[in-house]
């Protein structure tokens, strides 16, 4: 099963469950507060997913390491390498 199929499968499952409960005859037996929560549930889910995505990307962005030390070390090593290669007769 491709990843696309997996997504469609899960979405279809959730969608059917929601539709049966919120729109179908089964839902009328539920207490009113439940019905009220159930109706906008897909919208809640979408907003929650969006928030989670933004928060995750934001957090990872903020904690993305800046490798200053690595860049500096590389510059030193480049000098060292140039000197050594020059001594070994490399013409740049």
């Amino acid at each position: 099963m491709t990843k696309l199929m997996q997504w469609l499968f899960v979405l279809a499952l959730l969608g059917t469950a929601w539709a049966t409960l919120a729109l179908g005859p089964l839902g009328h037996h539920l207490p009113l507060p439940c019905q009220q929560v159930l109706h906008p549930f897909p919208a809640y889910l979408l907003v929650a997913a969006g928030c989670y995505s933004l928060a995750t990307v934001g957090y990872r962005l903020a904690t993305f390491n800046d490798c200053e030390a690595a860049a500096q070390e590389l510059q030193e090593q480049i000098k060292e390498a140039r000197m050594d290669l020059w001594r070994r007769g490399l013409k740049f």
Binding site: K3, L4, C67, L74, L85
Partner: protein, 244 residues
């Protein structure tokens, strides 16, 4: 690592180059030092795609300095792309492990001993460098580039659940036969190619270890990330999403 020698392990580094006259001697020097310090058997295979800047000529000088058993020149007449460069280089590789990396100094050879250690530790088929975990990171990226990178990585993780944190990176160690197998399966180009390698590897049941790396964006020369690349990345991502 005397044990590596005893078991006859050998590491072939594939360096595809195009106009890397400035960087090639430096990366080779760093590679040689890193391997000598860790005591591993190695060879460096330089695949130059007919660079007009004289990369080939510098490579010949390096071959003289370090010996033709350590530096192997396997040039091609013109620019033919990364995927075929790996296939071409692999045909000449005598090691049982292949290391692929960029020749522009953004990947530092000091991480290779860590890759080797990691591989032994978990007997992994692939060890992938990651910018997104632990002490990994980048240097020389502005905020826009970081946002794109993090965003793209997040979307990829959600859609493909690949079980590796850095899919577009190209600093990796492969068992030779694993890389051979993957090269037969992978058809994409550019960033997507690296991504497909990991996704296919998972499909085939290969194990992947990860080592945090610092990515220092090209010291000499231009680094690019244009709109075109973003579009082709998204296309490739969706293709993998729908087909794997």
């Amino acid at each position: 690592m005397a044990a590596g020698r005893a078991r006859g392990e050998k590491y072939s580094v594939l360096l595809p180059t195009y106009n890397e006259r400035e960087n090639l001697p430096l990366i080779v020097w760093l590679l040689v030092r890193s391997f000598r310090e860790s005591g591993s058997h190695f060879e460096i295979i330089i695949i130059d795609d007919g660079s007009p800047d004289g990369t080939q000529e510098v490579a010949e000088q390096l071959e003289k300095i370090y010996g033709s058993d350590k530096i192997l020149l396997r040039p091609r007449a013109k620019k033919l792309g990364l995927g075929t460069a790996y296939i071409h280089g692999m045909q000449h590789a005598t090691g049982n492990f292949i290391i692929i990396m960029d020749a522009d100094l953004s990947h530092h050879p000091k991480f290779i001993p860590e890759f080797i250690r990691k591989q032994k530790e978990g007997n992994f088929d692939i060890v992938s460098g990651t910018r997104y975990k632990g002490n990994g990171g980048v240097y020389g990226w502005d905020l826009k580039r970081k946002i794109i990178s993090r965003g793209a990585n997040f979307i990829t993780q959600v859609l493909l659940r690949p079980g590796a944190s850095d899919l577009t990176g190209s600093f990796r160690l492969y068992r030779k036969e694993v890389l051979q197998k993957l090269m037969e399966k992978c058809v994409s180009k550019g960033y997507v190619f690296q991504m497909e390698m990991i996704v296919r590897a998972r499909q085939l049941g290969y194990t992947i270890g990860e080592v945090p790396i610092s990515f220092v964006d090209r010291v000499y020369g231009e680094s690019k990330l244009g709109g075109n690349e973003i579009v082709s990345f998204l296309k490739g991502l969706l293709t993998l999403f729908a087909t794997t």
